[in-house]
């Protein structure tokens, strides 16, 4: 047998090796069957019960997903629920039963196909993918009418084989994908679909390697053929040669070894080889992120980007709503875990229609974050009250973004004191000792760090903006990429200065920009004495693994030496050369 290679779209990373199982198209009614005159009402009732049954099935699926924290997927099925009430879909099927005496199965099938084809013809990839959602919904109803097999057969046919299976199908409905059991199905390949199809999204969240859009030739596969799915490259290897098989087994082994290595650091403190402890926290934008960060090994939250609670909605979030979000984020972690809530940073690249902000020539240098909050104290106080109230339920800390002057900090602090006073007079509990700090992201504040340090409880360095303001380079401009590197010595000097200023006043310093999770930066920041590193959750375990191999006492010299180098490039190679431990992890 010849080895064959098929190229598709890489939809979900990872490597899978297994035996092919071809899922034949689920049976749908091909010919239109009719009912007799007079049977319309009975048929409409039968159809109505099937829709109701489909609805309860979806509700149960949703319930399960929510309890398992699979909220991204749940949202897909919420849209399906909405489709089950849709006039254009369900109404159109009913019309066929009522007006044309179609049997319910045929009516649903035709109405579903009509809508699916209409969407598939649109000039927009996202919308074309929704055709699969329409078919999923109409097939669910058809199954409830007793036609065709249940999609659970996907699993059953695969489970018969003892080896892991690679599922091949023309397309997988989101429902099919969500039910895949990773212990049976090692990976899947579909002929249709794109990276944004819901089955691809679900595959990524379940962690099954997947390739979509592989074309119909992928369906020429025979059951039982040996297949390799390379979810990183989007490659399918059918009947691979031995050397290919060896290569992929080695890749699988490497990936597994790395997972095992990192897993040892889950739930462990973050300590360097010579016993210096720091804190590894996560940057989040929602309660859901908080839960995920906890699973991925975060010790707390170093940056809650609260503006996401404000965005993508017609009205401002209420105090009660914000309170719930902050409290739930804290409750995702063990009691006393630090949870830093940054007050909203709207403006810059993040718009909020309800505030009707004027378009600016330089939004990053404009009316944003604390500048808006100090100008609209009522808006600000709603948020401050919500954070304070949540502080009764966890170790919350408040952080003000975009502070440039001592005056701004004092004004923000005064508004916080007002909010505290209001809560006291209303007898509402909050943490009287709540820590309050500022983000250092404007060079002005970095230069004045010694003065700020006397008044604040902590600093958190926001490197994304600090770099763009120090280097005067728009970080959205791809042609200026060489200036947007946080390892440029002028930026490192500012960071070093901020850490020293804080420690002199016995205050702690964190960092919540991309830099905190950048492998090469970690030894430098550790050497400078940074106390808290906050990064995207997926970077935490590798950072902890690296930390455990680093000797902090030796890094202070390294951190000092790089301050005298020419540019970021020189710093990169200097650190890579002097910290061989980086290669063991990354």
């Amino acid at each position: 047998m010849m080895a064959t290679e098929i190229k598709g779209i890489a939809a979900s990373e990872g490597y899978a090796i297994g035996r092919a199982v071809l899922l034949r198209e689920e049976a749908v009614p091909e010919d239109i069957a009719y009912i007799e005159t007079g049977e319309e009402t009975a048929e409409l009732n039968r159809f109505g019960s099937a829709v109701a049954a489909a609805r309860s099935e979806l509700l149960a699926l949703l319930e399960r997903m929510k309890t398992e924290g699979r909220e991204n997927e749940a949202e897909i099925f919420e849209a399906h629920l909405m489709l089950l009430e849709d006039e254009e879909l369900i109404g159109a099927a009913e019309e066929r039963i009522r007006g044309q005496r179609y049997q319910a199965e045929a009516a649903m099938n035709e109405a579903g196909e009509e809508v699916a084809e209409m969407l598939a013809a649109l000039d927009n990839e996202y919308l074309r993918e929704r055709a699969a959602d329409i078919r999923d919904v109409s097939r669910r109803v058809i199954r409830k009418l007793g036609y065709g097999a249940d999609s659970a057969k996907v699993q059953a046919s695969a489970a018969e084989a003892n080896e892991k299976s690679i599922l091949f199908a023309f397309d997988l409905t989101p429902s099919d994908t969500a039910q895949l059991d990773p212990s049976i199905i090692a990976g899947f390949v579909t002929a249709a679909g794109g990276r944004t199809s819901h089955s691809a999204i679900i595959a990524r969240s379940v962690g099954i390697p997947a390739i979509v859009g592989a074309g119909e030739e992928a369906l020429l596969i025979k059951d039982g053929q040996l297949v390799i799915v390379d979810g990183a490259a989007g490659l399918i290897l059918i009947n691979p040669e031995d050397n290919e098989l060896d290569r992929y087994q080695a890749l699988q082994q490497q990936a597994a070894d790395k997972r095992t290595l990192l897993d040892q650091y889950r739930g462990k403190p973050s300590v360097s080889m010579d016993g210096h402890q720091i804190e590894l926290a996560a940057n989040i934008g929602s309660v859901q992120d908080a839960r995920q960060a906890q699973v991925l090994g975060a010790e707390g939250i170093g940056l809650f980007r609260t503006e996401f609670l404000y965005m993508g909605r017609p009205e401002l979030p209420t105090e009660a709503e914000q309170f719930t979000a902050y409290r739930e984020a804290a409750e995702a972690f063990a009691p006393d875990s630090p949870i830093v809530i940054r007050t909203m940073d709207i403006g810059g690249d993040k718009e909020l229609p309800i505030l009707q902000l004027e378009k600016e020539d330089n939004p990053f240098l404009g009316y944003r974050a604390i500048r808006i909050c100090l100008d609209k104290p009522e808006l600000f106080k709603t948020q401050l009250r919500a954070v304070l109230r949540a502080s009764a339920f966890g170790n919350l800390k408040i952080m003000f973004p975009m502070i440039a002057t001592l005056g701004e900090w004092r004004q923000a602090k005064a508004l916080l004191d007002q909010a505290k006073q209001e809560l006291r007079s209303e007898n509402i509990a909050f943490n009287e000792q709540i820590e309050t700090g500022i983000m250092i992201e404007i060079p002005a504040a970095a230069q004045m760090a010694d003065r700020f340090a006397r008044e604040v409880d902590f600093f958190s360095i926001g490197t994304n903006d600090l770099v763009q303001y120090t280097m005067a380079a728009d970080r959205m401009n791809p042609r200026l990429g060489y200036l947007s590197d946080p390892l440029h010595p002028p930026v490192l000097r500012l960071i070093n200065q901020v850490i020293r200023a804080a420690h002199k006043e016995n205050k702690w310093v964190g960092m919540c920009g991309e830099m905190a999770g950048t492998p090469v930066a970690i030894p430098l920041l550790l050497g400078m004495g940074l106390d808290e590193f906050s990064m995207s959750a997926s970077a935490i375990l590798p950072a902890r693994a690296l930390l455990s191999r680093l000797d902090r006492s030796k890094l202070a010299c390294l951190a000092e030496a790089v301050l005298d180098l020419d540019d970021a490039e020189a710093v990169w190679s200097y650190v890579e050369q002097h910290v061989p431990e980086l290669k063991q992890i990354y």
């Binding site: 849209a79 489709l83 809508v115 927009n124 996202y126 919308l127 965005m311 993508g312 909605r313 229609p353």
Partner: protein
């Protein structure tokens, strides 16, 4: 009442915003329509909202009649002009 909005979402009105638009349309107890390029559809149907295929920078006109029409139009407008990518 009637009002025109420019779609700011970089990926257009795909599944998630479409769902929010239907939810917003249901605030109004009367009829709510979306119109783009001469095609006018019922905003309470997810299928219909998806079918106008509105992309970034295209203009969509929202019209509504009946109780809470203004609220519904404003809510739909907020979804159309949300610039966040998903």
């Amino acid at each position: 009442m009637e009002k025109a909005y420019v779609v700011l979402n970089p990926t257009g009105i795909h599944a998630r915003p479409a769902k929010k638009i239907v939810e917003a349309a249901k605030i109004c107890e009367g009829t709510v329509y979306l119109e783009k390029g001469g095609r006018k559809v019922n905003a309470k149907s997810l299928v219909n909202v998806l079918s106008i295929g509105a992309k970034q920078n295209e203009t969509v006109t929202v019209s509504a009649e009946g109780k809470k029409a203004e609220e519904a139009v404003a809510a739909i407008g907020a979804v159309l002009s949300a610039a966040e990518a998903e």
